[in-house]
């Protein structure tokens, strides 16, 4: 029983912090997201070299073969600096290949995901606020895939799209397709969203034919697993981003004077900051446990991640708003960074299920 990080994990954390500080500071982030697509090939290459892109990919496929709990260390720290790079998307695509692909498919694609030569992303649901097999509505017809796949994370920078689609009318007749960017009949439309560090797009599919080698099975349990992994990844990012928002706001409270006192001396400010700390500590602990279950106690993953993401979705949204509010007027200028965290909190809330979804599931798993 040891609910702490190993020395190696702490070294990994330091490494990511150094990278974010030296290579991906906020000015760089703002530069990256001001272009389309919001992506940086050199930083992606560096992340590949550091082993983060293949962190959870086994060594036999060119990865590092670590666990989800190690990944959370990386995600927490990249999100602290609001990294816009598609690490979560690439990792979830890898998770899909690992879980649903056959030996040949894994061997064909995973090395590229690990070495950064192929940026990948995963797109599951077609409904904006419904986590359910029925929410996969894109269907394969005689001519292949026809229609659109909306809400695809990092669609602008991805080379490979791992896309869920409906292979039959039954609730759970689902499959995954591997579609390369230059696939005939596929085009990508940008979806402008509130958080520019988390780009999103829609795939438009005009009779895209399905090569059997590029179709993976997707059982309902797989769909649940991948959604849960997505929730773990996003919650890890929420921990880092929320922590940064608290840190920025606390620093501000220690230097800003109003009515003759540091504002951090007023309980109206300090108690709100204390409550933020309580919430972040708490969803952090829930997240660490959930991340541990992915590899070590998968039967507990659903409940564990729903507790974490359910708590985090509400709490981080409140933290984002309050962090801006405690800054007063300066907090909502475009120039100041704190508002970027508010936008991130809005983005993170619905991703892979909001509080209502996850708490409903906790109730159900708890026998209600």
């Amino acid at each position: 029983m040891n609910f702490g990080f190993t020395e190696e994990q702490e070294m990994l954390r330091d490494q990511v912090r150094r990278f974010m500080h030296e290579d991906c500071a906020m000015t760089t982030v703002r530069e990256i997201v001001s272009a389309k697509p919001a992506f940086s090939p050199p930083l992606w290459k560096k992340m590949a070299e550091l082993g983060w892109l293949g962190l959870i990919i086994p060594e036999e496929f060119g990865g590092v073969g670590l666990r989800w709990i190690d990944l959370t260390v990386v995600l927490e720290e990249t999100a602290r600096g609001l990294s816009p790079l598609p690490l979560v998307s690439n990792t979830l695509a890898a998770a899909a290949l690992l879980r649903c692909g056959d030996a040949a498919q894994r061997q064909a694609w995973l090395p590229g995901l690990a070495d950064g030569s192929c940026v990948a992303t995963l797109a599951l649901y077609d409904e904006p606020n419904w986590i359910d097999a029925d929410a996969v509505t894109l269907a394969a017809g005689d001519g292949g895939l026809c229609g659109s796949k909306p809400y695809v994370p990092d669609a602008g920078s991805a080379d490979l799209f791992v896309v869920a689609f409906r292979a039959g009318a039954e609730h759970n007749e689902l499959k995954l397709a591997l579609l390369e960017r230059d696939t005939k009949g596929l085009s990508v439309t940008d979806q402008p969203i509130i958080d520019r560090t988390k780009p999103m797009g829609t795939l438009v599919l005009d009779n895209v034919s399905l090569d059997p080698d590029r179709v993976l099975t997707l059982a309902e349990a797989d769909l649940t697993y991948l959604t849960d992994c997505g929730a773990v990844a996003v919650t890890a990012e929420m921990v880092g981003a929320a922590d940064a928002a608290l840190e920025i706001t606390t620093s501000y409270a220690k230097e800003r004077v109003q009515f003759g006192n540091l504002i951090g001396k007023y309980q109206g400010v300090k108690h709100r900051l204390a409550d933020m700390y309580v919430d972040i500590e708490s969803f952090r602990s829930l997240l660490y446990y959930a991340a541990w279950t992915v590899d070590d106690a998968p039967e507990e993953l659903s409940r564990a991640v729903s507790l974490a993401k359910g708590y985090a979705s509400d709490a981080f949204a409140r933290i984002g708003i309050d962090a801006v509010q405690l800054h007063g007027a300066i907090g909502f200028t475009a120039e100041y960074d704190i508002q970027l965290y508010l936008k991130r909190s809005k983005w993170a809330r619905p991703m892979f299920g909001d509080t209502d979804y996850h708490y409903d599931r906790v109730a159900e798993l708890g026998g209600l």
């Binding site: 909306p150 009515f259 509010q325 007027a329 907090g331 200028t333 475009a334």
Partner: protein, 389 residues
């Protein structure tokens, strides 16, 4: 306790409705000339500056009629009665109360006829909420003041023609509320440098303003030298939450309900989720409370009872609703709620999403919620001050 209107009041309401029917075409039928004609017509009706004295060109109207006028205008989603929002809200009343005869003749028609607009220069970089501590300096030199300093968060500054400016003429005072002088400054004066600030929603509604040796004629001083705080307080007191505001919020609630009716959440109609229903009901209760609170305070004014700081109650409701209503619309729509204007799945052109980034205009601009709580605690409940003064 009586919510009925007198026959005179009823007939005034009818007059307003008839006017609106005759003179307010549907939005898409409004031509390029519409706004100009509208402003001329409401001015002819003496509905601009409705409660201002007739002598200065106002309507001389009563509080009840004014609330009827505002309510009907808001219900009809009519354009404002004049383009100089701040001039009509508090600069004009300030000039009527404290201005010289010359100032009244110069500025009141200017405001009423929408010839230009005022902005309000209160906040400074180091004194956002603590207005009485301002440092912008004005020195009397012959027949004019020379102003140096900086204002910030000045709403509408990028377009304003004039600014009502709080300056310090005396730094050697026992109480920081003294030594403050209020000036009316032409924004085209030499030495005025306006730098728009972009907010997180991408709008540039407000600005920093730098004043470098700006000359302001003495006859543009509003009130006595060193007594500018009284002008400000009286001006802020005019910044009341009105029945028009409440009507607008009921309107917004209606559009939110329509949105709920057309939204599916987790595969089912969102309207069936009790949490959604009860949250909308709670919004309605808060807005209705604002309405009846406002009517109680209006009644006090009608009875010439002094209004304390009760209006902070509605400001707190407004702040909570500003933050929550748009955010609720976003949350309801999941990922689609993240999309901005131009997105294929954006909800109503992304208006809720954009609005969810614009709440600080109201929530912070009008005095933060914590400031409002201090006002209630100290001025109404009589609890000790926690500030330095």
């Amino acid at each position: 306790m009586d919510f009925e209107y007198t026959p005179e009041e009823q007939s005034f309401r009818e007059e307003v409705r008839t006017f609106l029917k005759d003179n307010l075409p549907a939005p898409k039928e409004r031509g390029p000339q519409f706004l100009k004609d509208w402003l001329t017509k409401v001015r002819e009706k003496r509905w601009v500056g409705f409660s201002w004295p007739v002598e200065v060109g106002g309507g001389g109207g009563g509080l009840i009629e004014q609330s009827i006028l505002k309510e009907e205008m808001a219900l009809a989603k009519a354009p404002p009665l004049g383009t100089d929002m701040m001039g009509l809200a508090w600069v004009g009343p300030g000039i009527i109360q404290y201005g010289t005869e010359e100032q009244k003749q110069r500025f009141i028609p200017y405001i009423l006829d929408s010839e230009g607009t005022f902005c309000t220069g209160y906040s400074e970089p180091n004194y956002g909420s603590d207005l009485a501590s301002i440092q912008t300096k004005a020195v009397l030199t012959g027949d004019h003041y020379v102003v140096n300093g900086q204002k910030t968060w000045t709403t509408l500054a990028p377009w304003a023609d004039w600014i009502i400016l709080l300056t310090r003429t005396d730094f050697d005072v026992a109480v920081k509320h003294e030594g403050i002088t209020c000036l009316l400054v032409d924004m085209k004066s030499d030495g005025v440098d306006v730098r728009p600030i972009e907010n997180m929603a991408g709008d540039k509604h407000f600005a920093e303003i730098f004043f470098t040796d700006v000359k302001v004629p003495v006859n543009q001083r509003l009130g006595e030298e060193g007594k500018g705080w009284a002008v400000t307080v009286s001006a802020l007191a005019n910044e009341r939450s009105s029945i028009g505001e409440v009507t607008q919020m009921f309107g917004k609630l209606d559009t939110l309900k329509e949105l709920v009716k057309h939204t599916r959440k987790a595969g089912k109609p969102a309207r069936e989720d009790p949490l959604v229903r009860r949250k909308l009901a709670r919004f309605e209760a808060q807005i209705a409370a604002m309405k009846y609170n406002g009517l109680r305070y209006l009644t006090k004014q009608l009875n010439d009872e002094p209004l304390s700081s009760e209006t902070s109650v509605n400001k707190l409701h407004r702040a909570s609703l500003e933050i929550e209503m748009d955010d609720f619309a976003m949350e309801l729509n999941g990922q689609a709620g993240l999309e901005l204007n131009g997105g294929a799945h954006a909800i109503e052109g992304g208006k809720w999403t954009k609005a969810a980034l614009n709440w600080p205009n109201v929530v912070i601009g009008g005095g933060t919620p914590n400031i409002q709580r201090n006002i209630i605690a100290e001025r109404i409940l009589g609890l000790p001050k926690d500030g330095s003064d």
